[in-house]
Symmetry: C2
């Protein structure tokens, strides 16, 4: 077992096309996780992740700030601390910061 | 996809032998999760989970309060908000509240 703090893990800029002002920290990554990975995302002011889809799910828990989860019809589902979300495989989705402060959430994905 | 708040999910008392003052909320459970489940635990003052082991991992993120993760040698690894932990399959472990307020954390497990 191990115990760490999120700020011990390096923030990497997300350079994927369609992403703006997004950083990722791989808290529990494929080097150590048996089945699924825990990532911490920070979306800064005016930032967003790509509007895209893929064949794996996201399990999300919001830690800080105000954001939205955009669906394939362009509807924005508000996200605040205490909200959690499931994005199913092959669903179009995007995460956006809707406030002034950093929008921070955990996003877990399967490895297999 | 769906978005919910943790307080929309019923708290269930953990009645497992060796548990005291522990509640669980199944935020994303096996009815909807493709691969892994998200649970939110609340351990009240003087509470703890069973000291036990099993053949699946825990991925943990602390949300509130002060606690400890006890290992098989009886060592207590402190846990506060911002800490995360991996308990590997077959490792002996226990979660304890070490403070006055509720100790709250997410604990994710594989379904398969």
């Amino acid at each position: 077992m191990f115990v760490k703090r999120y700020d011990e893990v390096e923030k990497e800029e997300v350079n994927e096309e369609g992403a703006k002002n997004v950083e990722i920290q791989w808290l529990i990554d494929e080097k150590v996780a048996p089945n699924f990975a825990m990532r911490r995302f920070t979306i800064k002011e005016n930032g967003y992740t790509p509007l895209h889809k893929h064949d794996w799910e996201h399990e999300v828990f919001v830690l800080q700030g105000e954001g939205a989860l955009v669906d394939g019809d362009g509807n924005e589902h508000p996200l605040k601390p205490g909200n959690f979300a499931l994005v199913e495989p092959n669903e179009v989705h995007q995460f956006k910061n809707k406030g002034k402060e950093d929008f921070v959430f955990l996003c877990l994905i399967p490895l297999k």
